[in-house]
């Protein structure tokens, strides 16, 4: 493991004044069972774990909530506002989450379209402003548009979370250039959220210099989620290290690696 190198050259990830031990954040949705979820999260090494707020199912009250399976002392629970299609709804869910939860962080989603689950940036900005005023530390799920990202930072977001590609699509990082631009122009951490499909996607995303990745389906929907959790852990670390190491320039002609001098006549 290259952990020693990483520790020597990298700075810790800090969001909203809190330091996090891993640059990989994972969701808890879509797992076949809770045991697989717990082992996959373990294998991923993620500290930040996202959860959603939903009605208690009154006909199945004996079923334990997700907190029964996740130790809040070990994990940092980040509530989301997934499924909200207006600023008003997202604000309502955020308030409920804060009441249920353990911290003032919220992964803010205001969705604008059912088919693509792309964000409604107007609603997102509106909700951000209200929630920041109420003392929330907002991490906003957004598209890969620089202007929106700048406005979100200006509105007081603690992290901006552009997508790699649509939620649950597994298409990987479609537009590295825009994500790199957002990272270069923002002061607050940039966490890529959604769209990563496999380990190489995570690695390429981290190589752009972003501060972290949040993913759910890529791990949960893998044939072996525990193995994929481990793969993602290595991919995020490898991508981060490669970014810090600084890659060689791309050339369209070959350059020999062995000396050209000293060849036999």
């Amino acid at each position: 493991m290259s952990t020693a190198v990483k520790a020597a050259t990298d700075r810790p990830l800090v969001i909203g004044g809190r330091e996090f031990g891993s640059r990989l954040m994972v969701g808890t949705g879509k797992y076949a069972d809770n045991e697989t979820m717990v082992h996959a999260i373990e294998a991923s090494g993620a500290e930040v774990i996202t959860v959603a707020v939903r009605r208690v199912d009154l006909d199945r009250t004996k079923e334990e909530g997700i907190l029964f399976h996740l130790d809040p002392k070990k994990h940092f629970l980040l509530a989301n506002t997934a499924g909200c299609y207006s600023a008003e709804d997202a604000i309502r869910y955020a308030r409920l989450a804060r009441e249920a939860g353990f911290n003032e962080f919220i992964k803010l989603e205001v969705i604008g379209d059912q088919e693509t689950l792309l964000p409604d940036v107007e609603g997102l900005l509106e909700a951000t402003r209200t929630l920041v005023q109420e003392g929330f530390k907002v991490m906003a799920y957004t598209n890969e548009d620089l202007i929106t990202a700048l406005k979100l930072e200006d509105a007081g977001c603690e992290a901006v979370m552009p997508l790699a590609s649509p939620i649950g699509s597994g298409l990987g990082l479609i537009n590295p250039y825009t994500v790199r631009t957002i990272k270069r122009r923002l002061t607050k951490p940039v966490i890529v959220d959604a769209g990563v499909g496999t380990a190489s996607d995570a690695c390429i995303t981290m190589e752009q210099g972003v501060d972290g990745i949040l993913m759910n389906t890529a791990i949960a929907a893998a044939t072996d989620p525990v193995a994929m959790g481990g793969a993602m852990r290595h991919a995020v670390e490898a991508g981060r290290l490669a970014y810090l190491a600084g890659r060689m320039p791309k050339r369209e002609i070959a350059v020999p690696s062995s000396p050209t001098a000293g060849m036999l006549d």
Partner: protein
């Protein structure tokens, strides 16, 4: 005999005795107050206030908790 009231809990009509507090309501539904957040007519009722808040006929109550999500 206490009168009965009708309230909407998580979208469904339910009948309870009049004079019930939110803590009583959670107990009737076999829910642990530590694992649930209660919204009464779209206003969050904080945990310490659940015992002193009486449910009235026609109230809209939402009981939420954390579930798996991304």
């Amino acid at each position: 005999m206490p009168n009965s009231i009708t309230v909407i809990v998580n979208g469904d009509e339910r009948r309870f005795d009049d004079g019930l507090s939110l803590i009583d309501l959670l107990e009737r539904l076999e829910l642990d107050p530590r694992g649930v957040v209660v919204e009464l007519n779209r206003e969050i009722v904080r945990r310490p206030d659940l015992g002193q808040t009486t449910v009235a006929d026609g109230d809209q109550i939402e009981l939420v908790h954390f579930v798996g999500g991304g």
